[in-house]
Symmetry: C2
Subunit: 200 residues, 2 copies
DNA sequence: GATAAATTTAACCGAGCGACCAGTTAATTT
DNA sequence: AAATTAACTGGTCGCTCGGTTAAATTTATC
């Protein structure tokens, strides 16, 4: 299938398979089949399977950091900026379901864990700085920036990672527009509550 | 190694490998090697690799539900009971690091997802009932029981799943006694804040 | 201490894996 | 139009996988 851009097609098929069944279960044969490319072509464009994975993940990370720039650059107080950041992140995960799946699955061990961790650390540090910016005294203890960061990150990511379980709790598709909106409102409310407490 | 209990040793080695590198990457040969048993012995005790996985997971699930019984049965108001439930769950994850890893990795796809989902659903429903019990009016909207459940569950599980990333944020082992205690305090504080808001 | 049952073993299998290679075609440069 | 490079292909190799077999060894029962 030399009709357009084989490399992109390979990346797309790899993304889909890595997301749906994981790195180990995804075979280069199936990636080739799904992308319409010859199996050897994968090894022409990428050094090996691991490098293909890194290319897929790299592309996600690039889009993610780009996407998160906008809500961070805009003006506004912490409440507004964090609210926008959260909404933007949720939207990104909604549009890139495989990203959440890949991170979730590959982040726990093996060689790929390091790739993922190295990419996620800057994102986390960025998040922490936003929180600290508003509270330069580096508030410690039970509402420290790191604790809040992981708490709000967890609120977001867990919703996507457990959408399968949630379906039987909500009796409804957790990833529908309506339910995503509900989740956003819940997290916004939580943000409100926390910020009110810190302010007072 | 017929010296004591080969079946248990196989289960232990399988648990370790499934947790550290995942179901697909863990080979029956390595499980045999690590447990000191012959590879065929695995197939004597378990139908196949999948059944071995289910046995490992089943054992975790059984211990988990047992462990969670205590804090649920005891008396106290919602604040106390939920606080105890959260602390107990965190303790369980601290002592069973592989459980969190296995759930995280295998919950996203494949045949194992269903095994995990089927086991987790009752736990989630239990959690929801506890929340609802105190607010029988089934409060909907931004502080609905389901939203709170996933929020607090996320606060807990994400801390463990992202301990690798957190290490470079905290500059410290996130799973140390001290930091686990800090995390507990943070979540307890969050619970306080939320319950105060609902009460008022 | 014989015998049957339960357990453990070494040796082996077909299948499928990632990777590679020699060679071809298409595009670009000279 | 010749030469050079980039994109692509069919075939297959070496290896490891999950799983099986049949025989050996240990344990339990009498």
């Amino acid at each position: 299938m030399a009709e357009k851009n084989a490399r992109e097609k390979i990346l797309k098929a790899a993304d889909r398979l890595f997301g749906e069944i994981g790195f180990d279960a995804a075979t280069t044969r199936e990636i080739a089949r799904k992308s319409g490319a010859n199996k050897a072509l994968i090894y022409y464009h990428f050094k090996n399977k691991e490098a293909l994975f890194e290319a897929v993940f790299e592309s996600y990370y690039q889009r993610l950091t780009e996407t998160l720039q906008a809500p961070l650059m805009e003006q506004g107080d912490l409440r507004e900026r964090m609210g926008r950041l959260i909404d933007t992140y949720i939207d990104f995960l909604s549009k890139n379901r495989n990203f959440a799946r890949i991170v979730q699955r590959e982040a726990s061990g093996g060689r790929r864990r390091d790739t993922i961790r190295d990419h996620m650390i800057p994102v986390f540090k960025m998040g922490r700085e936003i929180i600290r910016e508003a509270y330069p005294k580096t508030r410690a203890g039970d509402l420290a920036a790191e604790q809040l960061l992981i708490t709000f990150y967890g609120m977001i990511i867990t919703y996507f990672n457990y959408s399968g379980v949630l379906e039987s709790l909500l009796g409804d598709d957790p990833l529908s527009k309506k339910n995503i909106k509900l989740r956003k409102e819940h997290i916004a409310k939580m943000l409100d509550i926390v910020l009110d407490t810190i302010d007072s």
